[in-house]
Symmetry: C2
Subunit: 477 residues, 2 copies
């Protein structure tokens, strides 16, 4: 740990970058706005992938791979889609030394190329549903970028499903929103608000966009996953019809849903502290670091003891490393594993061995305890479970403290300038009022919650007229 981390209170934005760079999660790429995901960051992404992929497969999905390059004309087939994505496209104009007849865009999302293929694969209701997911890289030429949170290239998964009825597609849209919510809360230990986006905030080409929204430590919201009911929009644009059970012809119904490497940014900004990264144990690539403390004459004995401990932990399924490096001091190693966000650290020296105990230190609270050697595996597993739960509860308490109900625009603005957080306010349902708030405060409607608050008696925070919905506003990443 050569560099220092800027404290959150001093500069939250710089603190975030310090964590990303010093914990070696990512680095800036030579091309502006792109990043390199370093091994520690990628190991976390691999854990996220494994967890999500398991949930996708449990819900009947299979993986496939569609092409990176899409004919420019495809992107133009769905009117709202091109309007949304045109400003962000990267365009390939030359291949193999020659100018291409038609420019190709690098996928900013894959609906268009996938629906061009679904047209070939779907003839009858027997071919439905199609429940495909893809793990892939995506390029969107964003202007303001930040590692993990918004980069010109990012990694994600995108599910694209095709159904015979609107009801089935709606059910799938909500099922996947539920999967995202479950993953956020149970794996990432991040409480999320689930809801529907307003028309102004929905995906370009969707009928309805659902999202999960998380609250970061600086009072700004982070959209952590979206699930879209696409209706028949893409089926119409690509002329994908099927023969129904009763022999009529209908357009196919669609959904799409995705989460990205942005989740890593969400984990950092939900749990970490001024010492470095804090990772939920369930996703931490390394859950326990054993730091042996020895001098030349005690080295062999301590390392042998530590190796046995490592093997005992490993045998119970704990992801553990033993740091037997001779170059760095134990103190240096303690700081390093704190920076890396390893949930538990075990210290053991000659005296501990004599007493048949070790010190177990917990990353989030800093608590230390002496633990008899025989109890280490069970105590460590309990600690990891307890820390997973504690991180979620701490984040939930923070979110609750940072959620305010008001219809008063002055209070609304004061809240935004101060602690931030979610603001639940009445909304008349007019796009103009939503736009006014956005223009004047930069706050947006994050979601209209799935279980809506009762708008009786509430007034629109922007125009003062009677509210039809309680909307959740926030500043957002």
């Amino acid at each position: 740990m050569a560099e220092k981390i800027t404290p959150r209170a001093t500069d939250y934005s710089q603190w975030y970058l310090d964590i990303v760079l010093n914990a070696k999660l990512a680095d800036y790429a030579p091309v502006k706005g792109c990043m390199v995901i370093r091994p520690r960051g990628y190991a976390l992404w691999e854990r996220i992938q494994a967890g999500l992929d398991g949930l996708f497969k449990e819900t009947g999905h299979v993986n496939a791979y569609f092409p990176l390059l899409i004919p420019e004309s495809f992107i133009r087939k769905e009117a709202e889609h091109i309007e949304g994505f045109a400003p962000e496209l990267a365009v390939v104009t030359h291949g193999g030394g020659e100018k291409l007849e038609e420019p190709l865009v690098i996928r900013p999302t894959s609906e268009t190329v996938i629906w061009a293929m679904y047209k070939r694969w779907i003839q009858s209701w027997r071919d439905l549903p199609i429940l495909i997911n893809q793990w892939a890289n995506i390029v969107r030429w964003e202007k303001r970028t930040r590692p993990f949170l918004r980069t010109r290239e990012f990694l994600w998964q995108e599910g694209h499903t095709a159904h015979a009825t609107a009801a089935e597609a709606e059910e799938e849209t909500l099922r996947m929103l539920g999967v995202y919510r479950q993953f956020a809360e149970e794996w990432m230990a991040i409480p999320v608000l689930a809801g529907v986006k307003t028309d102004a905030e929905k995906f370009a080409g969707a009928v309805r966009t659902y999202a999960i929204e998380a609250m970061m430590q600086d009072g700004k919201a982070l959209q952590a996953g979206t699930s879209h009911f696409l209706g028949q929009n893409f089926a119409r644009a690509f002329d994908v019809t099927f023969q129904t059970k009763d022999k009529t012809l209908d357009h196919v119904w669609a959904t799409s849903w995705g989460v990205s490497t942005r989740l890593i940014g969400g984990i950092i900004m939900t749990h970490s502290d001024d010492k470095g990264l804090v990772l939920p144990p369930r996703l931490a690539p390394t859950q326990v670091a054993i730091v042996p403390i020895f001098k030349t004459d005690t080295r062999a004995a301590v390392l042998a003891f530590a190796a046995k401990l490592r093997d005992a932990l490993s045998a119970t399924g704990v992801r553990v490393v033993l740091d037997d490096d001779d170059q760095n001091t134990p103190g240096w190693k303690f700081s390093e594993y704190e920076l890396q966000g390893v949930p538990a650290r075990i210290e053991c020296g000659p005296r501990d061995i004599e007493k048949g105990q070790v010190v177990v230190a917990r990353r989030d609270t800093g608590e230390k305890a002496f633990v008899p050697v025989a109890e280490v595996p069970s105590r460590v597993r309990a600690l990891l479970d307890s820390m997973q739960q504690a991180l979620f509860e701490r984040a939930l308490a923070f979110r609750n403290e940072h959620t305010r109900r008001t219809d008063d625009y002055t209070e609304f603005k004061t809240q935004l300038e101060g602690p931030g957080g979610f603001i639940e306010s009445g909304w008349c349902g007019e796009a103009a009022c939503e736009a006014k708030v956005k223009q004047e405060t930069t706050a947006t409607v994050r979601v209209l919650p799935i279980e809506p608050g009762d708008p009786t008696g509430a007034t629109c925070v922007a125009c003062g007229k009677q509210a039809v919905r309680i909307a959740t506003f926030a500043l957002a990443y």
Copy 2:
């Protein structure tokens, strides 16, 4: 299985395409030369990835992710590298609606962007070795393409390692060649020749390229993996130096190594037959398909019986599906699972249930046997192991039958026009002779085998002078 498969004897090339398309492994993408990897093909790739990734991690490697887009100037920094890759580049000239200041190429391989990053990460011998692998998509604007074997976009892994000494880098190069050989033989059941490439055939930018070469059913060779000793070429091009243990400054030593979705083409062309795909059980996404045989009145009983069987197999770790579809006949299903290459099929009807037995059919040999229900899990596992071994042995026997030793150019040409295969011939070591053979026959030196044949008394197949090496020639994909 609506379409028929062209027999291999009629048209091997068409047979290959029929397998790929009818077994739904892949489909043609809208952009020429690109493919869509369909769920069945991707499931196979996932198994390949899991197997290889395990071997990479066992040998100390970690995964990371580097950017898709590389400044064009980077590709030009290593003289041989740009010469090799310039004709195949896809170039991004516009982003976000504006012309880019410098064109970006889509990675055709990642040495250049990775070594630009290694320059930042490596200062001292303490930073070495770096043992990084990346799973990624690659674009090379090839003229003649064929699904899996050669496509403009493909998926692969690329290892890029950095070392303090030439010896360490050489050792790594050979270690990874060994990993590829092990994976090819033990997972894919494909025997491979390991050896070094001639200068004419080596990777653009390598000091030495090692490869594994497999023999396909039509007598043509397939390069199935390469491992490159890059020397200090990329370190020099990107000015990557480090402080050695004795405080001097040296350029870093490098390797890179990769295999791609082309392996799927190799599996198809090594094992499959006129009925469809044949998959090695270790990689088959589905190892056993249970086809219940029933009428309306026996449906419930047969399905209950079949479900118990499925659960029993699944509990022993066998990847099994129960096909309880009511629409298709058992006969249709038998053909379908043969087409898909499922290694074992279990048939069970009311009479089998009475007798407490089922029929187990093996995909490669077509053998069928009655097996008592209680023995099904153990017998199926034995069958899968035995089939894995048998596929390898059959492929090895085929390769041995298709390997010929001759220094006579007329015989050499007759062999190429007839059965093809590997031809071991004397070579004087001159590039001119290698080029002459290639121009006149299109055969190339596939490898100079790692354990070289004794050239004593051998003469160069092209010029008749004394040979310095026995080289392995073949026509190749």
